[in-house]
Symmetry: C2
Subunit: 347 residues, 2 copies
Amino acid sequence: MKLATLRDGSRDGRLLVVRRDGEAGAPSPDAWPTLQRALDDWRAAEPALRTLADELDRGAHDGLPIDPLRLGAPLPRAYEWIDGSAFLNHVILVRRARGAQPPATLETDPLIYQGGSGDMLGPRDAIELHDPAWGLDYESEVSVILGDTPLGVTAADAGACVRLVMLANDCTLRNLVPDELAKGFGFFQSKPATAFSPFAVTPDELEAAGAWRDGRLHGRVRSIHNDQLIGDCDAGPEMHFSFFDLIRHIARTRRFIAGTILGSGTVSNADRSRGVSCLAERRMIEIIESGKPVTPFLAVGDRIRIEADVAGTSPFGAIDQRVVAAGASSSSSLLSSSSHPGAGAPP
Amino acid sequence: MKLATLRDGSRDGRLLVVRRDGEAGAPSPDAWPTLQRALDDWRAAEPALRTLADELDRGAHDGLPIDPLRLGAPLPRAYEWIDGSAFLNHVILVRRARGAQPPATLETDPLIYQGGSGDMLGPRDAIELHDPAWGLDYESEVSVILGDTPLGVTAADAGACVRLVMLANDCTLRNLVPDELAKGFGFFQSKPATAFSPFAVTPDELEAAGAWRDGRLHGRVRSIHNDQLIGDCDAGPEMHFSFFDLIRHIARTRRFIAGTILGSGTVSNADRSRGVSCLAERRMIEIIESGKPVTPFLAVGDRIRIEADVAGTSPFGAIDQRVVAAGASSSSSLLSSSSHPGAGAPP
């Protein structure tokens, strides 16, 4: 089952059930008008949503065309956004770029940070660049939306907590990171709003293609920068800590409520021919190979597109964002149907 | 105006408007059944809520008695919980306790961490202690609930973003902190669920007593541990960064939506006769004075009570929590009206 959120002027948008091909969809039953409401009441909501999904897939219900420009993040505001850093190749490269060592517990203790979750960007929202000196970077990630997750859950039981899978662009302001980490409290200003893919998909959709196993997405995550394919990374085998491992880790001392989003961290492969899922890695490789970074960070006018390839399909749709100058677009209020700068404008 | 949230079996509870003395209250108008809904629509909700508050204060409406045992956190789940560390005396002492130096930018760049916000404890909820070796500590703090807060807001304009003021007990698992900070990504497992005071109060209630000025609460925050007053700290002058400074800081690179909670960090005074708002400070002072810490961290059966004194009144009511062994109480589901272990049992 594939779900999306239509911007309708409300803070949470309107939940849509989407046909498997992503081209058409229908509003969810009125009892669960938003994705959060469905997650709050998943046991009752899921069968009703699946009935509608089946009707769409069988052609018993035509639905209405999906316009990705009108979609918000599946959860336009979420109660938590927690991001792991489960691809160790990324951790090692990015730390080397900062002149820092990977932590001694790299392979046994997952790196996790708590991110801002109140303002999530939709898949076509522009990225406002307020100061080019901040060093804007994209990060292509896999993420999951959790149901209620008890404290102390084991990795073996964590699978039952995963409701939906999607992609994320967890932008980072690279040049704000070192000073912030030096203070010891983790990222804050260096992490602007995160964007999510058009569609959030139940694990069984991916299992059918053998692509959801062991708490990992076994598929490619592609990153296209200004029409150039710069990353085509395998999201599966090199995810050292699976989503189930990450869930066990975060739930050691507290519990999580339905609607919590958990990210994989930047998808990264040791094989350099796979390219990169963020510019910081590419810059680090340039330093290693030629002594200095050549690739600049993202600039106004740049475009970044992130999409998965799972057995030849694109289950989550594409994140496709353009970088705009701050204030350059008609951002108005949090409640406008094009609530983010550049939303509504073709990317 | 004073607001509270009654546990009614739903995830967000029922918004109550509370009489100034905190003894009686009435359900909010049905258009704004929860605090989040009121914050989402504050311009319309506020006048209606104030009308009801006036009726209660004038005696035109009797209301119903408030039972603090039935109250949840004002926001039982919030979209963000961001905690500053604005009392520098606390930063210096706690870092010394960890053998760490305060950051070089201590006085110019606020320390901030992003906390978990999906599961907020009510004022009488028990604190489950899963492993005494984790070193459970309380932290008495002032916090504010924000309305929609634009990116780039100045400190001068930040006052208009503050909707409500309340107290927090931002528990910390002290012995999990060093390893977590060594990894460089900030706190995560070391921060279990945070508890909040029964009442969230509009700034004008405090301004009338001269107690809300310059983005600071000018009043005392008292901490009582097992019937012993161990802290009676002034929350005003030594808050180096005001809430307005903290808002400016957090909004540098992103915006925040209504319902975001922002904390002051542990209230702390350089004058040691004021006592402490967390046990880590007391232990550090013991180390300085006698070479080793004497005060243990919180143990099962301990009780911690946190309350403000503003011109002889207790505007926020009391946080009053007992520490219980994990699984010792009848915690059941997230949706039960006593959704947290020990809730419903007199502390």
